[in-house]
């Protein structure tokens, strides 16, 4: 894979918050366009982008609302840029239509959601992880997206780069599902030299105009792109379309298109699965978590081990597509799966589905506004380990 354009890479050792690190990840990945309607606790991402982009070379537009922001990035992508938008709960809700549009038109782009407490305006300055199902199911119709969940400012950088790479590889919107704690906490962030950052380039067609079909998929079910203004004539529409991109509104075309959109992700699920697993080999109980909760969960796991419980932990880094096969295999060898999250029970439903009755699945819910006390998770572990 080619390397990052050094103009966007702030190589060095920094003490930086997760929002700023996510912005630097986007710049390192080659994002040169962002549109946003800034909202707490994500504002610092676009604030930094707006400050940095004039010297890197690119555009930031503060739009009139989140609908405009989320469709402007699609325009930028079809004009040749790598583009993203940034938001939190209320804005994420407004962006759902254009997430579906990006899925349907196979527009590679990144949505960063720094999750705060909801519903509605909720807790603007305080954390939650309650948009995890919305990220997967919030737009209408059948589809698949990719969602990544960082648990530190360093991972906000690393996973922002990966989000852009996956968006290009699969031509799908990728969600970087941060939370307020990770976004606002400041820690060491190491940004490597540009030549150590691999970049998945735009899958641009090599066919000449006339032979190019914008929605003719390759062997991995992903079609190649052309950009506006390059002499290619093509149609990009949210309507069900054929390989030429022309609207083709019938059951056969729908079946072909929507099944392919789904299959290009689900076929690659094993390769997309990314998680950190520790101490599960001889565990009776495994704690499954993601984002900031994974750090609190790790503390709880250490406390439980000190009490003699055989407990392991699994941290989801890729949350969507959900690593069903891996969780199912885990469920066969343990007694219980404990799932703390900053919501009233979302990803635990996926764990339960994957476990399919092989292991007891325990939810440790939290309505948001803070993180769990480690003791809450510890209590759940101790209870089930009895």
């Amino acid at each position: 894979m080619p390397h990052a354009d050094p103009r966007g890479v702030l190589t060095g050792v920094h003490f930086m918050d997760g929002d700023h690190a996510a912005c630097e990840g986007a710049l390192a990945a080659g994002a040169r366009f962002a549109a946003g309607y800034p909202i707490t606790p994500s504002t610092e991402i676009v604030e930094r982008f707006a400050a940095r982009i004039p010297t890197v070379g690119g555009v930031f537009i503060q739009m009139e609302d989140e609908l405009a922001a989320s469709i402007a990035i699609a325009g930028a992508v079809w004009a040749g840029a790598k583009a993203f938008t940034v938001t939190s709960g209320p804005g994420f809700s407004l962006m759902m239509e254009h997430i579906g549009f990006a899925v349907m038109t196979e527009t590679p782009c990144v949505f960063m959601n720094v999750q705060r407490g909801g519903p509605s305006t909720g807790l603007p300055t305080l954390p939650a992880q309650a948009d995890m199902m919305q990220a997967r199911w919030g737009s209408h119709g059948d589809y698949e997206i990719i969602a990544l969940s960082p648990n530190s400012p360093q991972e906000c950088f690393d996973l922002a780069v990966r989000a852009f790479n996956l968006a290009e590889e699969f031509r799908v919107p990728v969600m970087l599902m941060m939370d307020e704690v990770v976004g606002h906490m400041t820690e060491k962030v190491v940004i490597p030299p540009a030549e150590q950052i691999e970049i998945y380039p735009r899958r641009h067609t090599r066919l000449p105009p006339g032979q190019y079909k914008p929605y003719a998929p390759g062997p991995d079910l992903v079609p190649e792109m052309a950009h506006a203004g390059e002499g290619y004539r093509f149609h990009v529409t949210g309507l069900t379309h054929d390989e030429r991109g022309y609207p083709s509104m019938n059951a056969a075309a729908q079946d072909r298109l929507v099944k392919r959109l789904k299959a290009k992700i689900t076929r690659a699920a094993d390769r997309l699965a990314c998680y950190e697993e520790e101490g599960t080999e001889d565990a009776d109980v495994v704690v499954i978590s993601y984002g900031i909760t994974s750090r609190v969960a790790q503390r709880a796991v250490e406390m439980a081990r000190a009490r003699g419980v055989r407990v392991g932990r699994l941290r989801l880094i890729t949350v969507w597509p959900f690593p069903t096969r891996q969780i199912r295999a885990l469920a066969r060898r343990v007694k219980a799966l404990v799932v703390p999250e900053l919501n009233l029970g979302q990803i635990v439903l996926e764990v339960e589905r994957a476990a399919a009755g092989q292991a007891e699945t325990i939810s440790v819910p939290h309505a948001g506004g803070s993180v769990h006390a480690p003791e809450q998770i510890l209590d759940a572990i101790m209870e089930v380990a009895k």
Binding site: F15, M185, T186, R295
Partner: protein, 199 residues
């Protein structure tokens, strides 16, 4: 360095966030330790109580929030009243002596004070009181290498104010050393570095 929880609190505009940022950066970037800084957001960001928390450790930091600080740096009376109750028994309290009247102090709390605002004014800019405070913190606690703190100061302030901020740091550091030696007026060059980071 054992896990050490620090809360820096004052009113908005005193540079509370920057003080915590400098302490965290010194540990994480210049001393090879771990640091996690979090801060309070919301209506209190200007004028009212402002508070930043930083955790330092030799090992990766898991739980992100400060719960029982080992060190409280209080730069306003309100911050003192609000955050004193959570200070760990036997903890260290550092106060801005002109802005905080210390009272109702639980037994066992170590307390040191510095007129950071006045010292900053002597340097010509009241706004560097936060960096005076960082210097004071550095000398009293000896948690971090002075040079790591100094580098973090230089790296965290606008280039045009570097010299001023370094002088503010030295002033606070020197005041801290003199405090430890039971005097407040000794003149010295850049403080020698007799204090080693302890475990």
């Amino acid at each position: 360095m054992q896990l050490t929880e620090i809360r820096v609190a004052g009113f908005g505009g005193q540079g509370v966030m920057l003080s915590a940022h400098i302490i965290g950066k010194a540990a994480a970037v210049y001393q090879g330790a771990y640091a996690t800084m979090t801060q309070s957001f919301g209506p209190e960001a200007r004028g009212g109580a402002a508070s930043a928390q930083v955790i330092l450790s030799d090992k990766p930091i898991l739980y992100p929030y400060v719960t029982r600080p080992d060190v409280l740096i209080a730069m306003s009376q309100e911050a003192y009243s609000r955050f004193l109750p959570e200070l760990k028994p036997g903890g260290l309290l550092l106060v801005e002596s002109d802005l905080v009247r210390v009272s109702d102090l639980p037994a066992g709390i170590r307390v040191h004070s510095i007129p950071a605002t006045r010292l900053a004014e002597e340097l010509g800019r009241r706004m560097v009181l936060n960096v005076v405070m960082v210097g004071f913190f550095g000398a009293i606690t000896a948690l971090l290498e002075p040079d790591a703190l100094r580098k973090a100061v230089i790296d965290s302030v606008p280039p045009a104010t570097r010299d001023l901020n370094v002088r503010a740091f030295e002033k606070g550091f020197e005041y801290g050393l003199n405090t430890l030696h039971g005097e407040h007026h000794a003149e010295s060059e850049h403080p020698s570095l007799p204090l080693e980071a302890h475990d």
